[in-house]
C-alpha cells in the first residue's frame, strides 16, 4: 500500500506526516496532495471562531462527542498562534479534547499559525484535504481568535459557528466589524454568567435589525449554560448539532451549498496561486539579491512598486518558468 492508499484507509501516521510535510513545504508533499484531491470534497466542514477564552475548544470537544454518538467520524484542526519572537508555539487546544484521544474515529491535529502571509489558510486547506481523503464525515476547524486570518480560514468551512461569551467587552462591536456576515450559528457560552441576558438581547436585536441574507437564513442563537453541568450541557450540544444540520440542509435546498463550494474553490485556487506563483518569485528575487536592489530603488524613489512588480511579472510570466 503506498502512502496515498494508507491515508485513504485512514492511517493516522501517514496523514499526520503529510500534513506536516505540507506545512514544512517539502517538495514531494504537493505531489501527494494532488493524488489525494480527487478523493476530497465529501466531508461536512464546520468552522468555529470566537475570541480567545470564549470556550471554542470546549465546544469542539462537545461537538466531537455529539457527532461520535451519531457514529460520524471526525477530524479536528485546532489552530494556535506562533510566537512572533521565536517562531515556536505552544499548541494547547487539544487538551480539552483529551477524552477523544484514543477514539480511532477521531483525528485531532494542532496547527500553528506560523505567521506567514496568508500561509495559514493554505496550510489549513491542505490539512482539511488530507482529513477529507481519510474519509472523515465531519471536519471541525477551530480558529485562534477573531481576525482577518480567521476570516480566511473560515472560508474553507460550509457552516460557521461564532462563539460568544458575556463579559468579554466589545463583542457586539467586533461583530459589526465583519463577523456578523460569516456567522451561520451563534453559540453564547457560559450563559449562566452575569451579562449573558444582555448579550443575548443585543445579539437578537442586531440580528432582527439586519436584513435577511439572500438565502433567507437567520442565524439561530444557542445559549449554553454551565458547561460543567453534564446533563444540561449535553442537551445544548445536541441542539447545536441540530442547528448545524438544519443549516446544512438549508444550504442544499436553497442552492447555497454550491455557492459556498465555489467560494471554497476560489479560496483554494488563490492559495495555490500564491504558493505556485508568488512564493517562488519572491524566493528567487530574495536569493538572487535582486529584491534588495528593488527595495533600494523604491525606497529612494527612483521608481515605484507597481513599475517594479510589472517588470517582474512580465519577465517571469512570459518565461513560463514557474516551477
Amino acid at each position: 500500500m503506498d502512502n496515498t492508499d494508507k491515508i485513504r484507509a485512514g492511517d493516522v501516521r501517514s496523514a499526520s506526516r503529510l500534513i506536516r510535510d505540507m506545512e514544512d513545504k517539502l517538495p514531494h508533499a504537493r505531489l501527494r496532495l494532488k493524488q489525494l484531491f480527487a478523493h476530497t470534497g465529501q466531508s461536512f466542514i464546520i468552522g468555529i471562531t470566537g475570541a480567545p477564552g470564549a470556550g471554542k475548544s470546549t465546544l469542539t470537544d462537545a461537538l466531537i462527542g455529539a457527532f461520535r454518538k451519531h457514529h460520524k467520524t471526525v477530524g479536528v484542526l485546532a489552530v494556535d498562534p506562533t510566537s512572533p519572537f521565536s517562531g515556536g508555539a505552544i499548541l494547547g487546544d487539544r487538551v480539552r479534547m483529551l477524552r477523544h484521544a484514543e477514539d480511532e474515529g477521531v483525528f485531532i491535529r494542532s496547527l500553528a499559525t506560523r505567521g506567514a502571509l496568508g500561509g495559514l489558510s493554505q496550510a489549513a486547506g491542505d490539512a482539511i484535504h488530507v482529513m477529507e481523503a481519510m474519509g472523515k464525515d465531519v471536519i471541525i476547524v477551530e480558529t485562534v481568535g477573531i481576525g482577518q486570518q480567521e476570516l480566511d480560514i473560515i472560508h474553507h468551512a460550509h457552516s460557521v459557528i461564532v462563539v460568544l461569551v458575556p463579559g468579554m467587552g466589545d463583542e457586539i462591536q467586533t461583530m459589526k466589524a465583519g463577523i456578523m456576515e460569516i456567522a451561520d450559528v451563534f453559540a453564547v457560552n457560559k450563559a449562566d454568567r452575569p451579562g449573558a441576558k444582555q448579550l443575548q438581547i443585543e445579539l437578537a436585536s442586531l440580528l432582527s435589525a439586519s436584513p435577511l441574507t439572500a438565502d433567507a437564513w437567520r442565524p439561530p442563537i444557542v445559549s449554553i449554560g454551565n458547561l460543567y453541568e453534564p446533563v444540561g450541557f449535553a442537551e445544548k450540544t445536541t441542539e447545536l448539532m441540530q442547528k448545524l444540520s438544519d443549516h446544512r440542509a438549508h444550504l442544499v435546498v436553497s442552492g447555497q451549498f454550491s455557492e459556498r463550494m465555489e467560494r471554497k474553490a476560489l479560496m483554494e485556487i488563490s492559495d495555490a496561486l500564491r504558493v505556485c506563483i508568488l512564493e517562488p518569485v519572491l524566493n528567487r528575487l530574495v536569493e538572487s539579491g535582486e529584491m534588495k536592489k528593488i527595495i533600494d530603488r523604491v525606497k529612494n524613489r527612483e521608481t515605484d512598486p507597481y513599475t517594479e512588480a510589472e517588470a517582474v511579472a512580465h519577465r517571469f510570466l512570459r518565461s513560463g518558468d514557474m516551477s
Binding site: N226, Y228, P230
Partner: protein
Amino acid sequence: MYFSDETQKTSHELTRKWEDDVQKALQSNPDQKERFATVSDLDISRLYTPEDIKDMDFGRDIGVPGEFPYLRGNQVTGYRGRHWTFRMFSGMGSAQDTNARWLMLLREGQTGLSTAFDFPTLMGYDSDSPRSLGEVGKCGVAIDTLEDFLALIDGIPLDQVTTSMTINPPATVLWAMYCAAADIKGVPLSKIGGTIQNDMLKEFIAQKTFMCPPEPSVKLISDTVEFGAKYVPRWNTISISGYHIREAGATAIQELAFTLRDGIEYVEDVIRRKKMDVDDFAPNLSFFFNSHIDFFEEICKMRAARRIWAKVMRDRFGAKNPRSLWMRFHTQTAGCSLTAQQPYNNVVRTAVEALAAVLGGTQSLHTNSLDEAFCLPSDHAVEVALRTQQILAEETGVINTMDPLAGSYFIEALTNEIEGKAWEYIEKIDAMGGMIAAVEKGFPQMEIADSAYKFQRQIESKEKIMVGVNKYVTEAQHVIPLVEIDEKMGEAQISRLQDVRRRRDNRAVLQSLSDIRTACKSGDNVMPHCIGAVKNLASLQEICDVYRDVYGEYRDPGLY
C-alpha cells in the same frame, strides 16, 4: 507616628551621610552584583532606617501578641507554654506500613500525625482502577475502604493525638472514614481533633489534584465546614494552603495573596450557602504555608498573613470572636528549595527554613527530609528532620521570647510591603468576581506560571544561585539510601479491595450511594450519608464516582 520628630531628623541626616559614604566606598569596592533581591525577586535595600517605617503606629500596626492586629501572634503566651506541633507528613505503601511509621514517630517524640495518601486516593480512584496503574502506595498510603483506614489508625489514641489528612477532592470520604473509625472505637466525635486539607481552590490554582469543577467542589467543602461546626468542634475543616501554590512557582506575595483570597472565598460560600454566622465556623479554619529559603521574606510573609486575616475577618466579615480573627497555620519547609545534587546540603536548607517558620510564629511544622528530592524519606532522614525541629525548640533559645524580630526597621518595612502587595492582588481578584471566577479565567495559574518561568531563567543565567546546581557544582555523587515501595504492594492492595467487595453487603452499599446522590442533587449536606456509606464499606472511588456523575468532571485546562 512611630518615631519622634527628633529621631526622624537625626535618622534623615545620618542616612544621607551614610549614602554619600556608600557611593565613595563603591568606587573602590563595588558590590558583587547589580541587584539584591529576595528569592521572590523583591528588591531589598542596603539599609533600613526609621524613615522606612515612619508612618507606622505601634498600637494600630504592631501591638502585642493576643491583640488585634495579631501581627505578633494569636495567643498571649507564645512557645513558652507549648512548642509548635512537630508534625511530620508521612505515608507510604499499605495502611499497615504507614501505621508502623506513625507508631515510630510517636515514640520518637512527634506530637501530631500527618497523612500522605497515594495519588489514586488523592484523586478519588480505587487501587484497581486503570488510572491507578503504577501509582498504588507510591507517594503515600493507599486507602480504598474503611477497613484500610482502621488498619491505618490501629493503636493510635484518637482522643489524644490529632491527625492531619492531606486530602482534597475526596476529603468528605476520608473524613467520613475517620469519623466512622472513631465511632467504631467508641470515641465520640466531639473528642476527635485534626485537620483535613480540603482546599480545592489551590488545587485548581496549583497542585492539580482535582475531580469536580470549582463550584461544586466548594459546595462540598462548605458541607464539611457545616458538619464540623455542628458535630466535630475540634476539627479544622479546611487547611487553606499556600504551600502548593509556592511549590508551583509562585512568589511569596502570590502565595500569601492567593491563599488568603481562597480563604475569603470559602468564608463567603459558607455564609451564603449555609446561612451560618461567621463566628460559628471561622475558628475552625486553619492555614498552611511554605517556608522557603529566603529567611526574612518568609518571616515577614507569615507576620503579614496574620495581620491581613485579622483585618479581613473583622472588617469584611464583621467577626466578633477573637478566635475567628486568628490565623493559625501549619508550615512545611520548601520541597522546591531542595536539591538532588549534594543532598546533605538539604539538612542546612531545611534548618534555616524551619527557623524562619518559628520566628514567623507557626503553630505546627513539618521539616523536609534530606532525601525528599528523590523519593519518600527513609526512617533515618525523617529522624534528622524531626531532630532539626527539636534542636530549634530545645537548644537554640529562639522560643524564649515572642516575635523577636518585631520593631526591626527592615522586618517591619518588608512586612508592610508584602502586605500592601498582597492586598493589591486580593482587590484585583475581588474585581474579577472572586476566586472561582479568577480560576476559571486562569488568572492565578498564569501569574504563577510567569513567576516559575522567570525564576528558572534566573537560575539559568545564574542571577539566582542554587548551591550544587548552578554554583559549587561537584562531580562527586553522594549516594544515599533510598526507600523503595515493593511493586507487589499494589497487587496485595487490589486483592484486599476485591475481597472486601465480595464480603460486604452490596445492597446496602448501593442504597447508601444512592443516598449520597440524592443529597448531591438536593444540595443537602453529604457528610452524614458519606459516614453511612463508608460504614457499609463503600469504596473511595464508588463515592467519588457519584460526585463525578452528578457534578461533572474537571479536566486540566493545560494552561502554561
